[in-house]
């Protein structure tokens, strides 16, 4: 049972953004493991379901591919694990290559875990609602796109089930070929159906009036002119920047102002959201500072000779802030 969403979507966006930034910037496995643990805890709290061995296997499987890839094709590193007297394919196969591949796999797994937790907490509609009201029809397209992935998962399950019911024994990867086409078709069809529902319920009605549309085009033109001037006449960068900014500002105003959309139950911004978003932004700031001041703290470089990755308590504490949504009180 999914817990009713308690945190503000914007707080969740900040959480996901900072988590993803850390996962992309950091190679140090300690911190990556912390991110994975935090994402798991948050997801556990949200769904009330403990992580199953199946999930653990799925993520382990995800890590295997980059690990093997790097182990097989990277020749760098001093700690040789295997070497065969065959040209090209004989190695050396090194521990360092294995570790480097594994940390890349861990990064991938972390990103995926963060995104899975995020998509659980924030619905496509939450994002849809944050699309400027002037872009109503684009919102329909966006929602079709955003619904594609969750629909694809559902369609995948439906197709798999239908195949089994008709006597097909699942064979893992070998099934993929037979499943991809129906999957894409089913998902597209269902995404289109969602769009149909949006249209008949008035979404997109607040699209731009003709005057506003012209104004928006002026904004686009100004922005384009600024960008063009920047590339053609770099010595007049200031003028170009002003022009582009004016265009962007005009565009933003025409698109966001004057929409007729409103909110039932507008998401309430609570103290806990401030805390969550603050922690996320704080973590981002910490990352930025570390990149400038002590980039070695973030990195983990197994080459040329593997060593234990370093561990800094302050950074670990910072990364642990990602687990905050798992311990925030349910409701004010």
């Amino acid at each position: 049972m999914i817990r009713a969403q308690t945190q503000h979507p914007v707080a969740w966006m900040a959480w996901a953004a900072s988590g993803a930034a850390v996962a992309l910037l950091v190679r140090n496995p300690w911190y990556l493991l912390l991110i994975a643990a935090a994402a798991t805890a948050v997801r556990w709290r949200a769904t009330g379901e403990r992580p199953t061995p199946g999930t653990v296997r799925a993520f382990a499987g995800l890590m295997v591919f980059p690990t093997l890839l790097n182990f097989l094709f990277s020749r760098a590193g001093e700690t040789v694990l295997l070497e065969f007297p065959i040209r090209y394919v004989g190695g050396p196969y090194t521990l360092e290559a294995l570790l480097f591949g594994a940390t890349a796999g861990l990064q991938l797994a972390c990103l995926l875990m963060l995104m899975m937790t995020f998509s659980l907490a924030v619905s496509p509609t939450d994002i849809l609602r944050r699309i400027p009201s002037g872009l109503g029809p684009a919102g329909i397209t966006a929602s079709i796109a955003m619904n594609f992935a969750p629909q694809a998962r559902r369609s995948f399950e439906a197709v798999r089930e239908a195949q089994q019911v008709r006597g097909h024994t699942p064979k893992g990867f070998r099934d993929l070929r037979g499943i991809v086409t129906p999957l894409v078709i089913l998902s597209l069809e269902s995404a289109m159906t969602v769009g149909e529902g949006l249209a008949t319920r008035g979404w997109g009605a607040s699209a731009l009036s003709p005057g506003r549309r012209r104004l928006a085009w002026v904004g686009v033109a100004l922005f384009a002119a600024g960008a063009l001037a920047w590339s053609l006449a770099p010595h007049r960068a200031a003028l170009a920047a002003w022009t582009a900014s004016a265009g962007a500002g005009l565009l933003l105003i025409t698109l966001t102002r004057g929409g007729t959309r409103s909110r039932y139950r507008p998401d309430v911004w609570r103290r806990s959201d401030t805390l969550m978003a603050g922690a996320a932004l704080g973590l981002l700031a910490l990352m930025a500072a570390l990149i400038l001041l002590a980039p070695m703290l973030l990195a983990y470089e197994p080459y040329p000779r593997a060593a234990w990755p370093g561990f800094a308590w302050p950074l670990a504490l910072g990364v642990s802030l990602l687990a905050l949504p798992a311990v925030l009180p349910d409701d004010d």
């Binding site: 009713a4 197709v159 239908a162 019911v165 008709r166 529902g197 249209a199 959309r261 409103s262």
Partner: protein, 538 residues
């Protein structure tokens, strides 16, 4: 309020028009029932009224549609949304939020109403449609019927002047459906709402509507007028009308006509000669299932004999689908299941599928091949039977048996609901199962297809197949099954002979039972069987 003037519409990349020269004039406050076989263009006509046609789908249009003064050629669906509320079939696939209250509010938000006004309207709509307890629940945890009610409520929350409903009660159990229809009738009366509703189950609606539009083959308007005028032209007029026809009486909805029908039905005597039950094919002992803290199916025990059909009845969310999915092995359950004397609890789905056929609700997810013919071949390939010499003959025979030879080359998901259901049935029946599990097989099917399916099930029984059909359609249950099992909130509430069981439970009585106050005849097929005219046309 709605003026359709010589409308001809052709979908993109097709040659044959879906609607052909249709003209209708619907006054404000009228309730119009749109009827016709699956694929006759009912949904298309509804789409023409809410503006999805032509703007959303594209295609070629001739003629014009004016709704409340707005020409649909100049106004898109989102502009018309203030005026026209729409609820579709398969509502789950069109939800845009995750919670009931948010879904009700969505259209109001798009309209830019104030927060307090939205809250008031959401509350009012939820109360009037009796959605109170559902309001805080996630949409994906609602049963099909609950979802349909939410969709209707969401369409009404914006208080449109025109309501377009595409088979709104097809997923609802009799009680909820009647609740929705009563509520709609009140709303139409009080608010002067103009309603255009497409529906297969005419029995329920015919007495309630002002006008009936009957679409014939190829999207032509065949009949248009008051229910009594149109009735003789309709191929199917609901159980009472069909009973009158079966007894060679003039069909009618007037008091006199019903009184005459009642007298004839009371004089009817069932023919003796009940079929003796064969061996036990499927034995279920204490089967139970629990899903988290939410739904629970309490122990069910049941024997399904050879050549017998058992109906699993119950309201929306009572556990009918869960029971069937457990039997098929799609859900892990407790308790014992024996198929032809062999325990099958631990068997994977694919192994069970050798003897057990299962067709889920909404078979559209079930069909994934490029053509109807290919669907049948897919099953044969899965079962490694494709190399058999008689393979092609078997496929062609199956296509003919299910009336699919004309659409064999078509894309299954473009077919009408009835054709899709037949394709799904053919795709599982080609494996020659001994036991068939059908989940709500009549959903979205027109009456002719339903009657055809009922005949088909009776044929299967004579051939020795065992059938378990989960349905909320009591007329269909009475037409196909010997015994029935009623589930209520996951518990077995009653088991027994179908006609008697339906009769004993007031809310489940069939139209004929309500009219006569007797258990039998329970349905038209009782009369037809008696007359010896059964299955002549299959």
């Amino acid at each position: 309020m709605i003026e359709i003037d010589r409308l001809t519409y052709t979908y993109p990349r097709t040659d044959r028009p879906a609607l052909d020269d249709v003209s209708l004039r619907i006054d404000a406050g009228q309730t119009v029932l749109l009827t016709g076989r699956s694929g006759s263009g009912k949904s298309t006509l509804l789409g023409a009224v809410n503006g999805l046609i032509p703007h959303y789908y594209g295609g070629r249009v001739a003629g014009r549609v004016v709704v409340g003064g707005m020409d649909t050629r100049d106004h898109k669906a989102h502009d018309l949304a203030a005026l026209v509320g729409t609820a579709f079939q398969e509502p789950a696939s069109r939800f845009v939020t995750r919670q009931v209250a948010d879904e009700l509010a969505f259209g109001l938000e798009a309209a830019g109403l104030g927060g307090a006004e939205i809250a008031r309207r959401v509350q009012e709509t939820a109360e009037r449609l009796q959605l109170g307890p559902l309001q805080a629940r996630p949409l994906d945890q609602l049963s099909g019927g609950e979802q349909q009610r939410v969709a209707v409520a969401a369409a009404l929350a914006r208080q449109p002047r025109v309501l377009v409903l595409d088979e709104p009660t097809s997923q609802l159990d009799a009680e909820s459906a009647q609740g929705v229809l009563d509520w709609l009738r009140d709303l139409c009366r009080v608010d002067g709402l103009t309603t255009l509703i497409s529906e297969h189950r005419l029995g329920r609606l015919l007495p309630e509507v002002d006008r009936v539009a009957a679409l014939g083959e190829r999207g032509r308007l065949e009949a248009w007028g008051a229910p009594a005028e149109v009735l003789p032209h309709l191929p199917y007029g609901g159980p009472l009308v069909e009973a009158a026809r079966a007894l060679d009486m003039p069909p009618g909805l007037s008091e006199d006509a019903l009184r005459a029908l009642r007298a004839r039905l009371l004089a009817w005597r069932p023919s003796p000669g009940a079929a003796s039950a064969g061996e036990v094919r499927l034995a279920v002992r204490g089967l139970s299932f629990a899903f988290g803290e939410g739904f629970e199916l309490h122990p069910v025990s049941l024997d399904l004999h050879q050549g017998e059909a058992v109906a699993v009845l119950g309201g929306n969310g009572s556990g009918k689908t869960t029971l069937l999915r457990c039997l098929m092995g799609l859900l892990a359950h407790r308790g014992e299941v024996e198929l032809q004397g062999q325990r099958i609890e631990g068997q994977p789905v694919a192994v069970r599928a050798q003897h057990l056929a299962y067709v889920p609700q909404w078979p559209s997810a079930f069909l994934f091949a490029d053509t109807v013919r290919e669907e049948l071949w897919t099953t044969l390939r899965y079962r490694r039977l494709q190399a058999e010499a008689q393979g092609p003959a078997r496929v062609e025979a199956m296509l003919r048996a299910f009336g699919l030879d004309e659409v064999a080359k078509r894309y299954p998901r473009d077919l009408s609901a009835g054709e899709r259901q037949r394709t799904a049935l053919a795709a599982v029946m080609i494996a020659e199962p001994t036991c068939v599990l059908l989940d709500e097989p009549t959903l979205g099917m027109d009456s002719a297809s339903q009657a055809q399916l009922a005949r088909r099930i009776r044929q299967w029984k004579r051939a020795g197949l065992s059938v378990m059909v989960a349905t909320h359609d009591v007329e269909f249950a009475a037409a196909v099954s010997e015994r029935a099992l009623v589930l209520e909130r996951g518990r077995v509430a009653a088991v027994g002979e179908t006609a008697q069981l339906l009769f004993d439970r007031m809310e489940l009585r069939t139209a004929l039972q309500r009219l006569t106050g007797r258990a039998r005849p329970a349905c038209v097929s009782d009369l037809v069987q008696d007359a010896g005219g059964e299955d002549a046309d299959d």
